[in-house]
């Protein structure tokens, strides 16, 4: 009987303490304390991440180099074809928002089997104190990586484009077909709700259409989401869809950039 009372009293004490901790950390003081502790933990978190990254990085280095070069060439091609259009749009724009890039180190990304399974979220070492806001997009080499969903003073959680539930409006680079990019989980992305009259081409780049609000939150236009890997078009259906292959292997990233308005 004595033994049972002992552990129950411990249980109730720590359960109440957990609820109390939850309430305390919702206050500004608690949030600030949490941010400070996170800042202290970042080096250890990053050390684990770097150790894992150094193990996986050595593999397929030549293949990775070729893939990186291919990605850069594709992006250059998309950029050049958009130059004239961008100049034209610039003259038509009345209040352009200038954007800045804030570099952020990845301190964690969680996948079922690290290096094998596709992660759905990243943790970076920049937060509210660095001017990051919920809804800011994160990029690498003009490729959209994801969107910030959760923030603390010194850290942020990013939902990747492949995360189940992620969505944004997009268009294809060559044919200007409009659609919605939706994450499916497990590293899969599809572009859906494309009308049948629009044409989709394999290997065409899918870019963001642009949906920034007046506060600068959201995705600017022409960020690359990926390239079309396969097309699903049935004459009997209302819409067609396409599978999108990402241009960047998120598992190999160590630094990303948060897009902020100045």
């Amino acid at each position: 009987m004595q033994k049972r009372e002992d552990f129950l009293s411990y249980f109730f004490f720590f359960l109440i303490l957990s609820f109390f901790t939850y309430l305390i950390f919702q206050t500004p003081l608690g949030s600030s304390l949490g941010g400070s502790v996170q800042l202290a933990l970042h080096p250890f978190q990053r050390a684990f991440f770097i150790a894992y990254a150094s193990v996986t990085k050595g593999q397929d280095s030549q293949l990775q180099q070729l893939q990186d070069e291919n990605t850069k060439l594709r992006l250059q091609l998309a950029e050049q074809s958009k130059e004239i259009q961008a100049l034209h749009d610039q003259f038509a724009t009345t209040n352009p928002q200038s954007l800045s890039l804030l570099p952020a180190k990845i301190v964690g990304f969680r996948a079922f089997v690290p290096g094998v399974s596709a992660p759905s979220q990243l943790v970076i070492d920049k937060g509210k104190s660095d001017g990051v806001r919920s809804g800011n997009v994160v990029v690498k080499d003009n490729v959209l990586i994801g969107r910030i969903t959760t923030l603390t003073d010194h850290g942020a959680l990013i939902d990747l484009t492949s995360r189940d539930g992620f969505s944004l409006t997009a268009k294809t680079s060559k044919t200007n077909a409009l659609g919605i990019v939706v994450g499916q989980g497990n590293g899969d992305i599809i572009m859906q709700n494309v009308v049948l009259s629009d044409s989709l081409e394999k290997n065409d780049l899918v870019v963001t259409k642009g949906s920034m609000n007046e506060d600068g939150i959201g995705s600017p236009p022409d960020l690359v989401v990926g390239k079309i890997a396969s097309i699903d078009k049935k004459p009997s259906a209302l819409f067609q869809s396409a599978e999108i292959a990402p241009l960047i292997d998120v598992k190999k990233l160590e630094t990303v950039f948060v897009l902020q308005t100045r």
């Binding site: 411990y10 720590f14 957990s18 309430l23 978190q45 969680r110």
Partner: protein, 142 residues
């Protein structure tokens, strides 16, 4: 032995906070509760939950509640049945991972449950083998 397990728990906290969605902290707490049947494990569960919430940006205190409740269920089960057995570790790790995954929305839940059951059972067997060897060595000296 206790210190070694707590150090492994600390490593598990950073693993789950940095690179894996597998609930390794929950599984380590299960092993610690099974091996070290003392009430301070509730405190360990609370602190682990707080650290984990800070690392993966959850509201602080959420994971602590789940982990403390998990330790309670294991200790309550211990009052009636033996828990230092492979079937119990297999069952508790599977059920614990399933509930943890449903609460926190972990993807690939079935894979996670399978991985958790296998991993925790193997680790439990390793810990038990080590403890038996330690006891044999102590008996020889006596």
């Amino acid at each position: 032995m206790e210190i070694a397990l707590l150090l492994v728990l600390l490593v598990a906290i950073f693993l789950e906070g940095s690179i894996t969605t597998l609930p390794v902290v929950l599984l380590m707490l299960l092993i610690i509760t099974v091996v070290i049947r003392q009430s301070f494990v509730f405190g360990v569960a609370f602190l682990s939950g707080v650290l984990l919430d800070l690392l993966i940006m959850r509201p602080v205190g959420q994971t602590s509640v789940v982990l403390v409740l998990f330790v309670l269920f294991v200790r309550l089960y211990e009052r009636k049945f033996e828990i230092e057995t492979v079937p119990f570790v297999l069952f508790a790790s599977g059920l614990g991972t399933l509930l943890y995954g449903l609460i926190f929305g972990i993807p690939n839940l079935l894979l996670e449950v399978g991985g958790a059951m296998i991993g925790s059972t193997l680790f439990f067997l390793a810990v038990e083998t080590f403890r038996k060897n330690q006891k044999r060595k102590q008996k020889r000296y006596l």
